[in-house]
């Protein structure tokens, strides 16, 4: 595969999309352990119910990790300069996450050629879960 370069990337280019497996309770247990985020709201239905939630729900940072895979599938991670998301909606157990991104700007910043991406993660029904942007350095 030819490495991406600043000159070959155009505004409007889309990143190859990434769709995850459905998020199961096992996914959440594994992510709690691996991430160190042991907040019981994500793994203990009794705790979730006593705090006004009908069920446990996915860690926002799990989807942010999925969305990071979209980026590192596109460029080596050391080329990622900034990565920002807003968590727009809760992700329920059973949902698949569809990660997409596109180039919205080409810029020179800190002496480097960079592109800005709009990125998002959506659930099964298209509901936006995470929306944000990333700045990527390209040669």
């Amino acid at each position: 595969m030819t490495p991406l370069t600043f000159d070959t990337v155009a505004v409007g280019d889309e990143l190859p999309e990434l769709v995850t497996e459905p998020i199961s309770r096992t996914t959440l247990a594994l992510y709690a352990g691996a991430s160190g985020d042991h907040n019981p709201i994500h793994i203990d239905i009794d705790f979730a119910k006593t705090h006004g939630m009908p069920d446990v729900f996915a860690h926002g940072m799990l989807s942010m990790a999925y969305l990071a895979r979209l980026l590192t599938n596109w460029v080596p991670q050391e080329q990622i300069k900034t990565y920002h998301v807003r968590f727009a909606a809760i992700t329920q157990v059973g949902e698949r996450i569809r990660c997409t991104g596109k180039v919205v700007e080409k810029l020179e910043q800190d002496g480097e050629k960079r592109v800005r991406l709009d990125i998002q993660a959506a659930g099964d029904n298209g509901e936006i879960k995470l929306a944000g942007d990333a700045v990527i350095a390209l040669l």
Partner: protein, 147 residues
Amino acid sequence: MIDRKHIGLELPPHTAEIEKGRLRFFAKATGQTDPVYTDEDAAIAAGHPSLPAPPTFLFCLDMEVPNPFAMLDRLGVELGKILHGEQTFTYYKTVCAGDRVTYRSRVADIFDKKDGALEFIIKETAVTDEDERKVADLKSVIVVRNA
């Protein structure tokens, strides 16, 4: 309501080691199949000294303290009432298994919306390596559901 006197509060710095086994566990938990993140030979072939910590992993190691929710306790916020609102990473260098990273965090701001029904805590964290070089800056927006 959270006491606004906590704006500017600095949390005790802490240092965490990036461990290979933990990175492989994180790769499994996040569906990562790129061998750069699990196979040290692939990581080295990609130019890293060992397995790299993936982009969001630095957020995780900030929880490697006896009480990862100490800031919330200090602010008097119940764990069951919070949501993660936004997260930002600014990267300066990639860190790998075997590296030790130090976290210095502060409460940058606290404000509310909807007549206090929602409160927002802005936490900013600077991450540095063993030589005090900048690794990344993290910014978290934490939403407190009061209503």
